[in-house]
């Protein structure tokens, strides 16, 4: 039996086959170019502008729900929340007073040691878009893009710790990868003793793994892991996770260490984009040079 529908003989079928081959070659070429390098970032940005309304329309009901739940909440609930927040703020303020003294002391000590003082990082709040990506990868979109100065490799924090980093920047949105993605790793140090190692994601947003610690490494459950700043992506000193479980197997040379992320990776709605002083310097350098020449 020949081609059904191809009443004009093989011609219709051939042209269908030919068009199919042509378009397949086009999409194969796109994949190769996209995989190899950033040749297609312009094209990707154009597409991202086209699909932006779809992302927005998916996000809208969730945004409306948030808005409605705050504006329709009853007075008593708001009052009690307000009281809670005030109490919380008071306790933070007390801690902050000590922090100011400590910071001054730290700067003084660093001056004595002749090392550079640590300056505060600049942050920007970004909303996570309620858009599902591939369910097998720990990725999400945020509502900040090129216009906000977001760049690839920028660190993302939430209120409790390191959340992830930016992998792609589009016109109005950016794609971020969480530290729990199976392809992601963060250089950390143990806060207690400064032991340096690497935290690798597992694909599960509640677990991180530390595969490069030997059996004799000094690490115990409850240790806080902070970003070490090695690798140049994450600013140093932010909490990454807590060690949950250390399993030392005599037959193996490496211990099995599991940690819990400090950031609430699966519950976040807002994240902070961080610019370290070096990032800001790099960006401002050209202008200051130009000014100097003038």
């Amino acid at each position: 039996m020949n081609v059904p529908g191809g009443t004009g003989g093989g011609r219709a079928a051939t042209s269908l086959g030919a068009r199919f081959l042509l378009l397949s070659v086009v999409s194969l070429a796109l994949m190769v170019l996209d995989h190899r390098d950033d040749h297609l970032s312009r094209l990707r940005q154009a597409f991202s502008v086209l699909v932006y309304p779809i992302q927005m329309s998916v996000n809208l009901p969730f945004k409306t729900w948030q808005w409605a739940s705050t504006s329709l909440a009853d007075r008593a609930a708001l009052l009690s929340e307000n009281a809670e927040l005030k109490a919380e703020q008071l306790s933070y303020n007390v801690r902050l007073q000590r922090m100011a003294a400590l910071e001054a002391e730290n700067t003084r000590l660093r001056a004595i040691l002749d090392s550079s003082a640590r300056v505060g990082d600049r942050v920007l709040v970004a909303q996570i878009l309620a858009v599902d990506l591939d369910p097998y990868r720990q990725r999400f979109w945020i509502n900040r893009g090129l216009g906000d100065g977001v760049f690839v490799g920028q660190a993302l924090l939430d209120a409790n710790g390191v959340a992830g980093q930016i992998v792609r920047v589009e016109a109005f949105t950016s794609e971020a990868v969480l530290i729990s993605d199976a392809d992601h790793a963060v250089p950390v140090s143990v806060n207690r003793n400064g032991l340096r190692t690497i935290v690798v994601g597992t694909g599960d947003s509640g677990r991180l793994s530390l595969p490069y610690l030997t059996n004799s490494a000094d690490i115990v459950p409850g240790d806080l892991l902070v970003s070490s700043g090695l690798g140049g992506v994450f600013p140093s000193g932010y909490p990454v996770g807590w060690v949950l479980d250390v399993h030392r197997r005599p037959g193996q040379s490496f211990a099995e260490v599991i940690a819990e992320p400090a950031a609430e990776l699966d519950r976040d709605r807002e994240v902070l984009l961080v610019w370290t002083p070096e990032d800001i310097e790099q960006k401002e350098e050209p202008t200051s040079l130009a000014e100097a020449e003038q």
Partner: protein
């Protein structure tokens, strides 16, 4: 009444709805069972109106899906192209199938679609070895009668099948 052969409102709104359904957040437990809405709707239109919706539409939708899901640009596009090529090649035969046989055909086409995505992931080294990946193929075939029924009803209220 609208003429079903020149009406563009329904196809375009069904494509947009499919794209929205493809990225709308679902609870983690059922996310793996999310049917591939875009290929399903595309197969419907390739069968219902092959002279209007063909390979070019598939390419555009595939690229939109790539951009939305952050996949490699062209990954969904090539998978959609293959599925739509098969639908166009055999559309007259598929159209007269009884509904269960049609769902079986759709099952096979979605399996090819998923396999191509899987294969590209493997080639570029994105490790996704999960067995749950194939769940969407099954749910896709199960919701096919629904897609077919709804779109048919809206497109030609007086006629039953594609």
């Amino acid at each position: 009444m609208r003429d079903p052969d020149t009406d563009w409102v329904l196809p375009i709104s069904s494509f947009i709805l499919a794209l929205v359904l493809a990225v709308i957040p679902l609870p983690e437990a059922v996310a793996a069972f999310r049917p591939d809405w875009v290929p399903l709707v595309m197969i419907y239109w390739a069968l219902a109106s092959p002279e209007r919706f063909g390979l070019l539409t598939a390419l555009c939708l595939g690229l939109a899906l790539d951009s939305l899901s952050g996949a490699l640009l062209g990954q969904h596009a090539i998978a959609m192209l293959v599925v739509v090529y098969l639908s166009l090649r055999f559309h007259l035969r598929i159209r007269v199938f009884p509904i269960w046989q049609m769902a079986m055909t759709v099952f096979v086409m979605l399996a090819i679609h998923e396999f191509l995505l899987f294969w590209v992931d493997g080639v570029v080294g994105r490790s996704v070895p999960y067995i749950e990946r194939w769940a969407s193929v099954l749910t896709g075939a199960l919701v096919w009668p629904l897609v077919l029924g709804i779109l048919d009803r809206v497109r030609q209220p007086n006629q039953a099948r594609v």
